[in-house]
Symmetry: C2
Subunit: 222 residues, 2 copies
Amino acid sequence: MRILHHLPLSPQCRQVRLVLGEKRLPYEPVIERVWERREEFLHLNPSGEVPVLVEENGLAIPEGRVICEYLDEAYPDTPLMGRTLAERVETRRLMAWFDTKFAAEVTRNLVGEKVDKRQFGRGHPDGNALRAGYANMRFHMDYIGWLAETRTWLAGPALSMADFAAAAHLSALDFIGDVDWSKAPAAKDWYARVKSRPCFRSLLNDRVSGFNPPEHYANLDF
Amino acid sequence: MRILHHLPLSPQCRQVRLVLGEKRLPYEPVIERVWERREEFLHLNPSGEVPVLVEENGLAIPEGRVICEYLDEAYPDTPLMGRTLAERVETRRLMAWFDTKFAAEVTRNLVGEKVDKRQFGRGHPDGNALRAGYANMRFHMDYIGWLAETRTWLAGPALSMADFAAAAHLSALDFIGDVDWSKAPAAKDWYARVKSRPCFRSLLNDRVSGFNPPEHYANLDF
């Protein structure tokens, strides 16, 4: 069986789980406590980070965007990268946007401070980081809303890796109750459409000790 | 004419210049002072960062890895991503490694502190960051040396985007005199092979006001 080494609230891992689900590729999720720096895991991925996908033939594929590229090449039946060169540029641009800019400006300041710090035993959340995270999120929600209003899906006419990249981050933030959906109606409509897809179910069933998601987290009609 | 908006010492930009050169795709380099946040440029790339490649048909492609994926799809004559699925995973794994891990642990601590801070008007280099950068670089040079000793090129049997990703970072560090080649013979041999390729010439001719590269920087027999 295909194995995914992951952490439940890591957006990169969530993105890969959504893509695996959308492509109907079965896998066994295995939680990897990366802070323990397990030697066997470092052999799979010298960077020591999740996600790492291990195929039945033994091929180990690390890193969110690398896994997404691999999955679209190896299993092209449900293409998620876009059709034309321009569509593929836009999908990858948004994957990079969420993976780097959104991650640095929002997710790291909120999920990083509230969840990762506790998991890694690195103390309490920093107030300045939280304030920056909330302030940055307002601009990012406006941007997601603008994309959702002007296009069918975030990167264009078709559902793509970009939707799963964005939804992965938002779902982790929603798990810790940090998304104010009332102020982002267009983003909320788009998120409701992604959230109602069957691939999303495994994310909505996540339980993480020490954290209780808000009631609307797993509700499709939030 | 194809235009590349770039900064001379940005590793992501250098990687794209090497790939464009290797694929013999002519382009006009245009220096973009990203810290001025020029409105026209923000329309090309809302993240406000270089590199951005603009094709003659107007298609704007931002972000190093996104541009590399695009160039290999749009101009497949000199393939640089690997042939088999496993080779492509390894190429992309190393691209991600240099783009995120090497960048955060080495380049940001040295090029970021010495060059970017001055360009952005953000004060003097931080001593702790410099010390961390030099310490981290030793491990990374060992890793590059190990890859170079066990494979023909960094990702496997063929020259790939991974070689250009690594060489882009090392060339920026070499420009500010921060690579001690005497302690990394295997990495040096590999780098000499990449450096002697015609695509490297434009990087070796770079001049950046306020910085004088060491004599060996542009020397193919360093």
